[in-house]
């Protein structure tokens, strides 16, 4: 119940943030610019629109999660409203989870708005509603949930600027970590290979949520990949949130 109240308040607070609308504006602009890019290509124009549109949703969604998420907890501490909150009969993890769910709700609404613009643009090109795009968007949302958890984790012990930087690094590492596999293949068997393998499995692999190419090209996605990826997103989020709660519990505000 407490989590729900904090989540709704966080949502109200987030939708009042001007930066959210600025990002939404640029996201919409980027989706619409795909139309111009499509004019420059030779061949399948709808493909360019889908690619740029999905990339914009993913990129600006991540920016929203990072820029808003990193300020959420810090603002409460800086403005000292945290004293009022923690003096209430409320546990610290409820506060943190409330903040998390509030931002997830905000992102859901933003993602829905961007998806409507995107699907409308695709519709004007293909004259059909491409529902399969929603699968890629759903996994973008799972990725955003994880990024939100990461932003909250950093926000619980660091300043917004540093937290944004760390979260951005997490995002970049998450999208490049798959390339470690190639490196591991080239390392001769031994302790170094084992260590590299452990690092590879611990590092986030955000490519597990990337079904954009498959959806755009109409490729078959194995159901177990969809299932495992969703479970991976859920478990990684649980891991990050547990870490955030652990850090937040140990934090002294005075």
């Amino acid at each position: 119940m407490t989590i729900k109240v904090i989540a709704l308040n966080t949502f109200k607070e987030a939708v009042r943030d001007r930066i959210l609308y600025l990002l939404l504006f640029f996201a919409a602009l980027s989706i619409l610019v795909s139309r111009i890019l499509a004019l420059l290509t030779v061949g399948d124009r709808a493909k360019i629109i889908k690619d740029v549109g999905l990339a914009s949703i993913s990129f600006f969604g991540a920016l929203m999660a990072i820029l808003i998420g990193t300020g959420l907890v810090y603002k409460e501490i800086e403005k000292r409203t945290i004293f009022t909150l923690i003096s209430k009969p409320m546990r610290r993890h409820e506060f943190l989870l409330g903040k998390f769910f509030g931002l997830v709700l905000t992102l859901l609404v933003m993602l829905a708005l961007m998806s409507v613009i995107f699907l409308a643009l695709v519709f004007f090109h293909t004259f059909s509603v491409e529902w399969k795009m929603l699968l890629a968007i759903l996994y973008i949302f799972i990725e955003l949930i994880l990024i939100t958890a990461v932003a909250i984790l950093f926000s619980s012990f660091s300043t917004p600027i540093l937290s944004s930087l760390f979260s951005l690094c997490f995002y970049l590492i998450g999208h490049f970590s798959w390339s470690l596999e190639t490196l591991i293949k080239k390392i001769p068997a031994g302790i170094l290979k084992v260590m590299a393998q452990i690092v590879y499995t611990i590092l986030p692999d955000l490519e597990n949520f990337n079904f954009k190419a498959e959806v755009v090209h109409g490729l078959t996605i194995p159901p177990q990949v969809l299932l495992y990826s969703a479970a991976y997103g859920f478990l990684y989020t649980v891991f990050i949130l547990s870490l955030a709660i652990l850090v937040f519990r140990r934090r002294d505000f005075i």
């Binding site: 890019l37 360019i48 596999e181 090209h217 194995p222 891991f239």
Partner: protein, 279 residues
């Protein structure tokens, strides 16, 4: 304290589970269209616009990707967009020499298309007209793999005219000129190489070529006169001096070392006394 213990347990459990899941996901192969993201980009010019000043870095990344992509033996149609991919790199970083050279090698050895290989080197030369390496390599490929000496000669000439080109370029040009029987150019160029060479080894090479050119011209002339002699007298002369006595030639030429050519009166064959390269 108990709360923290349970939280740490959740932390460890979720960590182990997502690590296991990651390994499981890796086991399932997903359908992929290699290179699809690049193929649809119309040109490197437009890609350059969105690199925000990091076009050189983007060129590096596309190049690294291309190397992995073309090295993948499981993609049967990987060469379909070969030129397109290398033109993207060329647009992003026109001064990046390696992609043109490596691309040319891939075209030569993997695609077995000499023309395509030369096309890539041409692309590099068009973007870098001050770099002699592109026409030199193109000439080398044209000579070795196409046996197209007129084309090789053109490329060597281009390379030779660029300041800083290595000395060997002039020698390759002179050799190609001889192969297309442009005797005058070949002689003049080899003579220039001989006169300007600082190393004895190079002087010797030039001298051997000059010997060979002179011998080729002389022997060709002697053979022609010998055929005229045979047409008139029904046989070849007993000695080469016979053609001078018959008034068909003013004098018998000597080789570059001022020695006589070897003549066989039975066949009318004229040869040099030594092999030009073993003088």
């Amino acid at each position: 304290m108990r709360k923290n213990v349970s939280l740490i347990l959740i932390l460890c459990l979720s960590c182990l589970l997502f690590m296991g899941l990651k390994l499981e996901i890796d086991k399932v192969s997903r359908q992929k269209i290699p290179g699809s993201s690049i193929i649809y980009i119309p040109s490197g010019k437009y890609l350059k616009m969105v690199t925000f000043g990091f076009s050189s870095l983007m060129a590096d990344l596309v190049y690294i990707w291309a190397i992995q992509y073309f090295g993948n033996t499981t993609i049967p149609d990987k060469f379909d967009h070969f030129v397109h991919i290398f033109s993207i790199i060329s647009e992003l970083d026109p001064r990046y020499v390696d992609p043109y050279e490596v691309g040319a090698l891939i075209a030569l050895y993997d695609i077995k298309d000499v023309a395509l290989s030369i096309k890539l080197l041409d692309m590099g030369f068009a973007k870098n007209p001050d770099l002699w390496i592109f026409p030199l390599e193109a000439g080398h490929y044209a000579q070795l793999y196409k046996k197209d000496f007129p084309l090789a000669r053109e490329y060597y000439k281009k390379a030779m005219d660029i300041p800083g080109a290595p000395d060997i370029t002039k020698r390759l040009y002179a050799n190609a000129a001889f192969k297309v029987m442009d005797i005058k150019t070949a002689w003049e160029t080899w003579l220039e190489v001989y006169e300007t060479a600082k190393e004895e080894r190079v002087k010797k090479i030039a001298s051997n070529h000059l010997y060979n050119i002179k011998a080729t011209v002389d022997i060709r002339g002697l053979r022609s006169v010998l055929e005229k002699y045979k047409a008139k007298y029904g046989r070849y002369p007993d000695k080469l001096s016979g053609i001078v006595a018959a008034g068909l030639l003013l004098f018998i030429p000597k080789d570059y070392d001022n020695k006589d050519y070897v003549y066989d009166p039975k066949t009318g064959d004229v040869k040099t006394a030594v092999i030009p390269w073993k003088r």
